[in-house]
Amino acid sequence: MKIELQGVWERVSVPALAKAGMALSQLSGLDFSVTETDIIASQWAAVKKKMVDKNPNPGYAVRLGAHGLFFAQIMLLFSDQNGQQLVSRMIGETVALPLDDLGLSALGEVGNVVGTAFLNVFADLFQGVWEPTVPEVLTTDALKFLSGVHDDTPILVTEAVFQVTGENIDSQIIVIPLPNEQGGIA
């Protein structure tokens, strides 16, 4: 990725994350805010270590691929408790763990709506289409989604935490642009 494009990525990621947070609030009925926004360029090994350190046991992960402007991976990570609380609010009754098919569907839709809101900002800015894949929900080993990326691959990551003020609900979004499904940022 050329330096100027990286600069654009860094600048547009902030309002795109804000849009994603607004979408999550509207879908869930909870007043989420975006905190701890971080946009970093690094090698995949370092990024992976940071993700593991921050999320030693993510519980649930929703993954979307994105194609069009360029290839990217989007992941939303939830602890068991946060996934349970978020789905309970969306469904309107307390759901049990592990989440059943309807609960997993709700969590997948969170990934779809939040991830696509992020993509929409970039697509409209560049007057193109940046289309997500159908969301996948993973209940173990969230980082397995990115097992095809080599450790020494240079990579650009946007991440943020969505948090509800006054309540113990948060989730983490990670967006990793890649030129193709295996490679890193050239």
């Binding site: 979408a23 879908l27 309807l102 569907s105 709700a106 839709e109 993509l119 929409n120 289309e131 997500p132």
Partner: protein
């Protein structure tokens, strides 16, 4: 009035179904574009609410296929993919309206009433 809800997310189908049944509409469901085409051909609902990003067949492809069956079909796209280029593509393919997820329930009801008036 019969409405076909097309969305791969069971949660979203359930949410829309509750909203519309409370208003007295009769609901049919499909979980992807291919199933939507089959259900439309068999049951000819009065209106279709169609997601875009779905497995097997996308909502845009399903819209085009259904229009081959019935050029007068009334389809409202209901998708998170509210990118300008995609909205234009859907309208050009024959969609009558485009509602971006997450939506306000009243926005959906207003669109249906307007189309069925």
């Amino acid at each position: 009035m019969n409405i076909l809800i097309v969305d791969d997310a069971a949660f979203m189908r359930l949410r829309l179904k509750k909203l519309l049944e409370d208003q007295g509409y009769q609901i049919q469901e499909a979980a992807n574009g291919r199933e939507a085409v089959e259900r439309y051909q068999a049951e000819r609902p009065d209106l279709v609410l169609m997601d875009i990003t779905m497995p097997e067949m996308s909502g845009i492809e399903a819209l085009q296929a259904i229009r081959q069956i019935d050029s007068g079909v009334k389809v409202i796209m209901v998708s998170a993919l509210g990118q300008q280029a995609m909205v234009i593509q859907a309208i050009q393919a024959g969609a009558r309206d485009f509602i971006v997820k997450p939506y306000e329930p009243q926005r959906v009801l207003d669109s249906i009433k307007k189309l069925m008036a």
